[in-house]
Amino acid sequence: MKLNIGSGGLNLEGYINVDVNPDMKPDLVHDISHQVLPYEDGSIEEVLLVHTLEHIEREFHNFVLYEINRVLQLQGRFVAAFPEFVICSKLLIDNYKGEKQSWERQIFGRSTNSHEHHRCAMITDDFVMQLIEFGFHDIKAKSEITQAHNMFVSARKAYSLGTRETILRKELALDVK
C-alpha cells in the first residue's frame, strides 16, 4: 500500500491519494497535520509528500513525520518534494529570468484558495537533519530534473520511534536531567 499525501487534485495511480480538501476529490479526505493516519503501524510501503510540507505550519511537522514513521514498514520509502527556500529566495532577490512574481509564488504559494498558501520555509539541510531525528536513514537529495529550484528528498525508515508516550517520557527524562 502506498500513500500520496497532499494530492492536490492530481491523483496518482497505484497510490491512495490523500488530501485535506474534499474539492480535490482524493481517495481519502484527511488532515495530516492534526489527524492520526487511519493505518496500522508498519503497514505502508511508500509515502509521497510532493509539494505538501510547505503548506503545513512548522509546529505540526514533527507530528507529520512521526505519523509517517509509524505507518511505514521498516525500510519503507519516504519521498518529499518542495520548493527549496534558499534557492527560491535568491532567485526572487535576483529577479531571475525577470520572473519575480513566479519566484514569489514559489516562496509564498499561490493564493487561489486557502490551502495553497505556503506556511513555512523548506530548507533541505534542516529537513535532512529532521529526518534523522525521526528514524530515517539512506537519505538522498537532488534537484528536480526540469525545475532545479525544487528539491526531491528520499529516505528509508531505519527504526520505529515507539509510541508517543515513550517519546514523551524520554523528553521528560531529558528535561529533568
Partner: protein, 268 residues
Amino acid sequence: MKTLLAVNTLTSVNVQAYASHLNLFYRMGKDSSDTCMLYNGYRQSIDFFRNNAAKVALQHECDYLMFLDDDVLVPPNTYSVLKERDVDVVTPVVYIRGYPFEPMFFQAHSEDGYSRLGFYRDWKDHILENGLIPCAAVGFSCALIKCSLLLKVPPPWFVTGVAHTEDVYFCVKCRQMLNNQVNICVDSSLHAGHLLDPEFIHTETRDSLRTFYETTVPEFLTERSDVRVQSVVENNIKELEAVPSISDEFLLELRNGKSKIVSVSNET
C-alpha cells in the same frame, strides 16, 4: 509618426534574435520616415518594463508603442506591415514557447467578450478577408499598439496576476473600460518565431515540434496534468535511486554547519 520600440532584455540576447532584430531596425529606418526610438530594459519584471515603456512612449508623444521580446524572431518588414493595419493592437501569429505550443492569442467564450478566454485554436477558420483575425486578447511578445489607446485607460496598464499575464490584463482592461470598443487583432499574413533552445516555434515548425515532444518525451504524451505529474514524480524518484546516500561524515559536517547540501552562488 513617432514610434517607441521597446525590447526587454534579461541578460543577453540570443544570436538569432539579435540578427532578426537588427534586420527589423534596418527595415524600420529604410521603409518609413517615422522617428523610431529604441527603449531597452534590463532584468526587469515584464509588467514593470511594459508600464515603464508605455510611460516613456507617452512622454515622447509617440503615436505607436511596439513591444518586441528578446526571444522573438520577426520578419524584417514586421513594423510596416503591422502599421498599415491601422488598428489599436496588432500582432503577428506567435505561439507559446512550451508544449503543446498554443497560439498566443485568445478568443472569448463569454458573452461580454472578455471574462472567459481560451486559446484561439481554430483561428484559421476565422480570418477576415483583409487577413486580420479579431481577438479578445493577444500576447505582446511582438505587438504594435496605438498610444491613443494608452490615453483612454488609466495606468497601470500591465499587471501580472496569478491567473493572467500582463498583456492579457491590458487587453481585458481595455475591453472592460472601453465597452469593447477596441480593435485587437492578429495579422495572419505575418508569422513570428518564438525561441526555444536552440530551435524555435513558428507556424512552419509547430507540427513537427509537437510530434517530436510527443514521441520522445513521455510526459508530453498526454495533456492530462495528473498523468504528467505522475511521470515527473516517477522520473525524479528513479533519478534519486541513482544518487548516492548522504554519508555519515557529510551528515556530521552538516550538523556542525561546516557543509551544506544546497548552496547558491552569487551568479545566477
